[in-house]
Amino acid sequence: MTTAPIATTIRRREFHSFTSAGKPFAYLVPSAAVFELDDASAAILALLENGPIAPAELIGQLTPRFSEIELHETVDELLRVQAIAAGLDAPPLPKLLPIGAQVGAEPGMPIPLTTMVLNVTNQCNLSCTYCYEYGEDKIVDTENGKKAKFMTEETARESVDFMLREAGPNRTAHLTFFGGETLMNLPVLKFAIPYARERAAALGKQVDFSLTTNATLLRPEVIAFLAENRVGVTISIDGPKDVQDQFRVFHNGMGSYEIAVPKIRELLTRHRSRPIGARVTLTSQNLDIRKIFRHLRDEIGFYEVGFAPVTTASNREYAIADAGFDYMLDQFRSLAAEFLEYALEDRHHGFSNVKDTLEEIHKGVSKAYPCGAGLGLMGVSTDGDVALCHRFAGSDSHKLGTVRDGIDRLVQIDFLNKHHIADKTDCSQCWARPLCSGGCYHEAHTRYGDTAHANLHYCEWIRGWTDTCLKIYAELAVKNPRYLQQFDEEEHEASQVN
């Protein structure tokens, strides 16, 4: 193919350039494509950092380093992958709602439900100070409110029917049990799992089960039940005894470490049908990530450990402030460097935050919404109300319908319309938006009182972390591309819910 001469002024479009393994790369926005650059393309992109440039000037500045033909060719390629654009004005991107969510869409063609999170109880045997369900920032009054404290078998049955109905053409539905403390309502699990399996089989579908628990109620017979039914288990735990017992306490203030850990060890020994992960909540007083990771991964033996900062209003004592985010990023980076060493040798490491992000980078995920809430994921409260996700389950102002009457499509469409990335002005110039898309709705609701608000308090952290993961990804692509093939194989199992 012949290359046409550069016709008009060219300018940079959105991308994030970075160096890894000694080579330059560009992460394009919003396509989320990653390209390795040669010298000519890197030089052109670097030149465009100073503003738009006319063709004659570009050629003047970059010859004789590169031949004129080479520059024309490179500009042509950069134009075609949309790293740069001709002309001065960028046309705004169209705002596309998901298929089935446009106003006037066929009512028979809604978005299929992939994951249903069932809040089987809103009661808990722990009183973790920072808990979004029990602590100072709770949305739903679980103590004196009118919501049922435990889900009934009848509601669980209706929920399973709802899930299979809404799964549409999907072959697999993911059912996650959540709380409160999930295992406080074991009878409903024992009813719902065989019921869901039987109903799904009748429809030619299958169900993948998982749950999150604080581990304090894992008796041997419970462990046997979970292993037998291949229920994926995520354990909420914060780390070694001093860290765990600071916030994760019983109602009388006693720490939960001594009770939980022997049961976790037994679970890890007996439940071998699915890998078991730990999920850590980070607070201002609990940011020693390497120490926590070493303890949970090496001393206790979790397969994976994932970390998330506590969701809280900014004035709480345990809220992470700016300096805390910087410190946390340093810690994450140091553990990520270790992850890279392992991955280069095809060894399993277990820092799940990196792995999850690498998978998204590999696939080129570019999100219009930060997560699947209200889209392919919904939370069901104890009395059968359907909400955006488990964190909003039971909140009347975030209700999408009920398991009996189904989803109110107009409410859902209105939600999707108001929360689209195209309407988050704060995010419009940010290169990390394909992966972040403004961040958690619940976090935004807790911080800013508005689910549609971008989570501006952790932008620097998100960009820093995305940059780190891009560098790891690129280094693996150069030095050990075989490692990345795992993300091409069957789609990842349901990610943990927290």
């Binding site: 193919m1 790369f25 394009l28 396509s31 989320a32 494509a33 990653v34 390209f35 390795e36 650059l37 040669d38 000519a40 393309s41 080479e70 060719e73 490179t74 390629e77 950069l78 075609r80 992958v81 980078i361 590999h362 696939k363 080129g364 570019s366 990804y473 690129a474 692509a477 091409d488």
Partner: protein, 111 residues
């Protein structure tokens, strides 16, 4: 592509799309059709035009007066009669790559 190497799956799809887009054109449409030629007709274009700036001269116009020639040629706008580029003078502007710089290279055409 010679200067960019696709790394992740999305980049691979963009590259594949670039290749296949070319193939589809080749198979279905033959060579790329030429771009439509202006003018398509005087009444299709509305241009406010210019005659003089606020001081009565032409130096302060937001678009150089030379563009007038091209506005007539491309937008089919008053005032000048321009050569017929469809039949008699197809190369009339061939030496004029940029109207602002090269307008002197446009010569007269005698029937």
């Amino acid at each position: 592509m010679k200067h960019l190497r696709s790394i992740n799956r999305k980049a691979g799809r963009i590259e594949a799309n670039m290749k296949s887009a070319g193939d589809v054109v080749a198979l279905q449409q033959g060579p790329t059709p030429p771009a439509p030629h202006f003018p398509l007709g005087c009444t299709l274009v509305f241009s406010p035009g210019w005659e003089a700036d606020r001081s009565g001269g032409t130096a302060g116009l937001c678009t150089p007066v030379e563009r007038d020639l091209f506005d007539c040629h491309e937008g089919c706008y008053w005032p000048a009669q321009v050569p017929d580029q469809l039949n008699h003078a197809p190369n009339w502007t061939s030496k004029c790559a940029s109207a602002q710089k090269d307008w002197r290279k446009i010569d007269l055409v005698f029937p």
